[in-house]
Structures are given as structure tokens and as C-alpha cells.
């Protein structure tokens, strides 16, 4: 019988895990933002269009959707969209920096079914977090978590992007989660969006990756990872999960203007499959787009074919390779065999971003 993971690689009738960025607007300007968010895009989907997307997801039996942004709670119709989804059988897990979760909204959220919340924190202390997410963002996130705990929301998630600076704080994050009755979620730093500029200084070193792998093996049962770290499996023992790149096969991304990309980490023209406003809607993009059909073909191991670890790591993350200028059929830039570093040293150009919604950086004018 064909292995399940091989079946997955040829694609499913509907995605398992779909990320939907509701807006590019954001009150923060995190240095590693995957979507280079900041300013709202005037072409953003209207409430009615968002409802139509949800109708399609329901018809396709997509059981839940991961909502993000930007900061999704900035949208005035945020609660309308979430309620439309959850009351119609499409569960919602949304990511937020917590700025809009005051005591009243926390109570409202606590009263809703089929709703999960992920509060983003990228340091176990204020200094580490605020360096990445901006001044005051740690205090904001903590206040939101306190409000959710006071409102008896139940088990929310604390979502951490693992970086060179916070990888030594994993136990502290776990303690923070335990303190709130929350669950810890760790994901991989990717060189996407504004991360293109910061990844080289922020991604964990090879030694840190080994520590991370050990830590995940020891604590994996209690921690969510969204299958983020399968490139580490080349170190030996495999982490729990599907151990494959799901881009266009089991996952995809809908961006705020309805563009459908292969995964949340590749907002770039090269990985644009279509738009939910197209005639056949999201359903046709998922089932028939050229890009997704291509991703569902068997992928070549390329330069990694002779490496004994390829079965374990599958060549790693497509997005990480693409945005660091590496060929897609070669090693991941964080290849634990050291091949990534070697390959990176030969890179002469990296792809230009195809979109940027960052707010303009205020320029300080000198006094005359």
C-alpha cells in the first residue's frame, strides 16, 4: 500500500491547513514579518467577499482556517468574519500580537466556540522580544494573555518564532505557557518578507539547531510546531509530524487581496497560483492551478540525491531556499549537514520581493 505521506504529496481535494491573512495593516513592524505588513492594501477583500471564501471552505470541508495578517483584529469586520466561519462549521485559529484584546474583547472571544488564539511573542523577556517585535510589544502581549486568562478563555497558544536570540529561552517559554494554562507553539524563522533582510543575523546557528532538535525530541509531545522543523530530522531521530513540505499539496495561503500562494512563507509572484476573485473561486485555484499541479508532481532531490539524509529531511523548506537564492532542488540554507552554509557562500543574487506593505520609515531630519 502507498504510504500516506506519498498520497499527501500528490495533493488532496482540499487543503488541510489553510492560512488566510486578512489584512496587511499592522500596528507593529516586526523585523521578520513574513508578509512585510504595515499598510492596508486598498484592494483588500470586502466583508461579502470574505464570506464567499468561507462558503467555499465550508463546501470543500476545510475544517479550520488559520487567520493572520498583518494584525487581523484591525479589521472592523474581524468578529463578523470569525463568527461567520465558526458558526458555519469552519473553525478559526487566529494569530495576533494582542494589541486589541482588552478585557471586553477577551470576554467576547471566550464566549465563542471553535476558536483558538495564538499570541505572538518572540522573547521570554521584554528586551529579547522587543528587539524583534518593537518597543512595548512584550507588555502588550502579556496584557492580552492576562485578559484571556481572566476571561477564562481556556487554553490559548503562545506562538514563538525560534531565533538565535531566543533559542536559549525555550524552557522559559514553556514556563510562561504553563503559567497561563496555555500551549506553546514554536515555528521556524524564515527568510521571507522583511525576514529577507534579517534572517542571516537571526536564524539559529548550527549548534543551536542541534540543541533545538534535542529539546523538541524531549518536549515535542507538549509543544506544537506546525511541522516547521522537519529539516532537523537529518540529525537522526525524526520529530513527530508528516515530515514533508506541504506547499500546494496540503497547505496554502490566501493573502488579504485574495491572492492564493503555495504556502504562508512564499508571498512572491513565483508562487502565486491564482486569486479567489477568479471565475472558479478558491476551489478552482486549489484543484486546477498550474503551479499547484506542478508542486504535486514528484520532486527531484537534485544536488541532495547522493546524501543519505534526504529521506529524513526531504531537502527542507522551499521558501527558505528560494529567498536565500538557493536552487529549489538543493540543500536547505539551514541544512544540518552544513551543505546550506556552503551553498550560501556561492550565492550571487537573491530574488527581489514582489510586494511590500511596510510602513515608510520616518526619516529624522537634521536641524539646520
Amino acid at each position: 500500500m502507498t504510504r500516506l505521506v506519498d498520497q499527501m504529496k500528490t495533493g488532496l481535494d482540499a487543503p488541510i491547513c489553510i492560512t488566510w491573512e486578512l489584512t496587511y495593516a499592522c500596528n507593529l513592524a516586526c523585523v521578520h514579518c513574513l508578509s512585510s505588513s504595515g499598510r492596508r492594501d486598498p484592494r483588500e477583500l470586502s466583508t461579502a467577499e470574505a464570506f464567499r471564501v468561507i462558503d467555499e471552505l465550508r463546501a470543500m470541508q476545510v475544517f479550520y482556517v488559520n487567520i493572520g495578517g498583518g494584525e487581523p483584529m484591525i479589521r472592523r469586520d474581524f468578529f463578523d468574519i470569525v463568527e461567520y466561519a465558526t458558526t458555519g462549521g469552519v473553525g478559526v485559529k487566529f494569530s495576533t500580537n494582542g494589541a486589541y484584546i482588552d478585557a471586553e474583547r477577551a470576554r467576547r472571544l471566550a464566549g465563542m466556540d471553535y476558536l483558538d488564539i495564538q499570541i505572538s511573542v518572540d522573547g521570554a523577556d521584554e528586551a529579547t522580544n522587543d528587539r524583534v517585535r518593537g518597543q512595548g510589544s512584550f507588555a502588550t502581549a502579556r496584557r492580552a494573555m492576562e485578559n484571556l486568562a481572566d476571561a477564562d478563555f481556556g487554553e490559548f497558544k503562545i506562538s514563538v518564532v525560534v531565533t538565535r536570540d531566543n533559542v536559549s529561552q525555550l524552557d522559559d517559554f514553556l514556563a510562561m505557557a504553563d503559567g497561563f494554562g496555555a500551549q506553546l507553539r514554536l515555528t521556524r524563522l524564515r527568510p521571507s518578507g522583511r525576514g529577507v533582510d534579517t534572517w542571516h543575523d537571526l536564524h539559529p546557528t548550527l549548534d543551536q539547531q542541534r540543541d533545538l532538535h534535542r529539546w523538541l525530541l524531549a518536549h515535542g509531545e507538549r509543544v506544537l510546531t506546525g511541522d516547521s522543523f522537519f529539516h532537523l530530522n537529518a540529525l537522526g531521530e525524526s520529530l513527530p509530524g508528516l515530515n514533508m513540505c506541504g506547499a500546494g499539496r496540503v497547505v496554502c495561503l490566501i493573502d488579504p487581496i485574495g491572492d492564493v500562494y503555495a504556502c504562508p512563507f512564499v508571498i512572491h509572484d513565483e508562487f502565486l497560483a491564482g486569486n479567489v476573485r477568479d471565475a472558479g473561486g478558491f476551489t478552482d485555484v486549489w484543484r486546477t492551478s498550474d503551479l499547484f499541479s506542478e508542486l504535486r508532481e514528484p520532486q527531484s532531490a537534485g544536488a541532495c540525491a547522493s546524501c543519505g539524509a534526504w529521506d529524513a529531511c526531504q531537502g527542507g523548506c522551499m521558501a527558505a531556499k528560494f529567498f536565500t537564492g538557493l536552487p529549489l532542488d538543493g540543500p536547505d540554507p539551514e541544512c544540518v549537514g552544513g551543505e546550506g552554509e556552503h551553498a550560501l557562500s556561492a550565492v550571487t543574487s537573491v530574488p527581489k520581493p514582489s510586494g511590500d506593505h511596510s510602513r515608510p520609515v520616518p526619516v529624522e531630519l537634521g536641524r539646520r
Binding site: 500516506l4 498520497q7 488532496l12 481535494d13 470541508q61 475544517f63 479550520y64 473553525g91 471553535y114
Partner: protein
């Protein structure tokens, strides 16, 4: 388990897929894979039969395979996808 009256948990939805089906549990939000179409047919029919044995018979599953199906159904009970009625 063969003599137990079984059924699909009311909070579980099955989504057909080429390999079988995805089962999603709306209460614990866990996703479980049913890795064969015949398993999907069996699970869907559990409610209509007094016990697992008669469901297996009705689905035309050969007796020498019942142990394997018994084990698979037991694991679905552990993940709360299937319940005893």
C-alpha cells in the same frame, strides 16, 4: 470489540480523500487519517449495525481481516473518532 455497538462521534466530520478520508473532531480539534476507503465505508456504517461484527459482515470484509479492522477501530476509539453506543 467485535461485540460492541459502535458509532461515529457526533462531533466528527469525515472528508473523502483519494486515500480514504480525513476525520476531524470539532471538540478536540484533532485530525485523524482513515487510510483506506473500505475503512471509511465501515466507519460510516457502524451506526446502522448492532455491533462491529455485523458491520464487518455487512461490508463484505473477509473474516481473516477482522483482527486488523478490530485494531484499526480500537485506535479510532482511542482518538474519540468512534464511540461505543
Amino acid at each position: 470489540m467485535l461485540d460492541s455497538p459502535l458509532g461515529l462521534h457526533p462531533s466528527v466530520a469525515l472528508r473523502p480523500e483519494p486515500f480514504g478520508a480525513l476525520a476531524y473532531h470539532y471538540d478536540n480539534r484533532r485530525l485523524v487519517f482513515l487510510k483506506h476507503p473500505s475503512m471509511v465505508d465501515l466507519v460510516r456504517s457502524l451506526d446502522e449495525h448492532p455491533d462491529l461484527r455485523s458491520a464487518l459482515e455487512a461490508n463484505g470484509i473477509a473474516e481473516d481481516r477482522w483482527d486488523a479492522y478490530d485494531r484499526a477501530v480500537t485506535s479510532l476509539i482511542e482518538s474519540d473518532v468512534v464511540i461505543t453506543r
